[in-house]
Symmetry: C2
Subunit: 172 residues, 2 copies
């Protein structure tokens, strides 16, 4: 087990808070922009971007979910929303009849294109403006390693350590 020391030093706490607050502020700003410029939620944007980045603009539902959504029904919901707007199509996969292939449409590409400039502008102004070239390279390295580690680490490893509270409160 990795975690026996139940405390963090000041620098670690600082990293934690800075990470959470920075990503929260950034995400909030970007969400606003995506909404204003393309009526997209952040998740929808991620899904479209993921498709646009895929060969043929297609992915199976399950693959599409990767790191974007934490439940299947959540993905179904978002995919339906995007389909209603004509930004993606969903068709049964040819090789595996259980799978659905999601494909980004022309319209989807158009919405993405309409959203990109503002999106990038925000990243420039908000995230990269105060950072030097070498800061950015360093960040890419460290955050990249952190992310890779988190991807690999099973979510259940640490959570069930705490025992559930004994107090059972009943409300009307």
């Amino acid at each position: 087990m990795t975690s026996e020391q139940p405390s963090l030093d000041a620098t670690q706490l600082g990293v934690y808070f800075a990470l959470i607050e920075a990503s929260s502020l950034l995400k909030h700003a970007v969400e606003q922009q995506l909404q204003d410029a393309g009526e997209l939620s952040y998740v929808q944007f991620q899904l479209l971007a993921s498709l646009a980045d895929s060969p043929e603009g297609s992915r199976r539902m399950t693959d599409l979910a990767d790191g974007v959504v934490y439940s299947r029904s959540g993905l179904t919901y978002q995919a339906q929303t995007l389909e209603k707007r004509g930004l993606v199509t969903r068709t049964p996969s040819s090789d595996d009849e259980r799978s659905i292939t999601v494909t980004i449409t022309e319209q989807g590409h158009a919405v993405l294109a309409g959203v990109f400039p503002g999106h990038i502008a925000i990243l420039g102004d908000l995230l990269f403006a105060p950072l030097s070239r070498s800061d950015i390279e360093t960040l890419a390295d460290i955050l990249g390693r952190a992310r890779d580690h988190m991807r690999r680490t099973p979510p259940r490893s640490a959570a069930p350590r705490q025992r559930k509270k004994a107090t059972e409160e009943r409300s009307p």
Copy 2:
């Protein structure tokens, strides 16, 4: 205007994605733990932690909102929830009759205490495990600067560049 170059290089994109995904994975894991160990949402945890960190365990509503919540009604909602559970009290401020002073209770401290070990364990396992001491110090510096910059930067600076869709809102 800061943003005329409508593109990012590969390293910048990498930083952006790594930041978003790492914080998302971390937050998701932590949210689960907070829920299991103390039936707290992340926002509620932040509010309690903010109070616990304040002199006398108290803050005015408006000050409490800082960087945690983006709308006043959202804070009212969460404060009410915490009050119902007896984790905070709300009393009119003595100096300014418009203000409400929110104070963490013994129970609130207890819930926080019950949640901390598991919380810290997750941070250790998920965020800090793959990082060296110097990585952490570097991250603290860079992310701290990024966060400070975002705090200072007015949210509206970049968003309204994209023109709003032609759909007009009507009054009832």
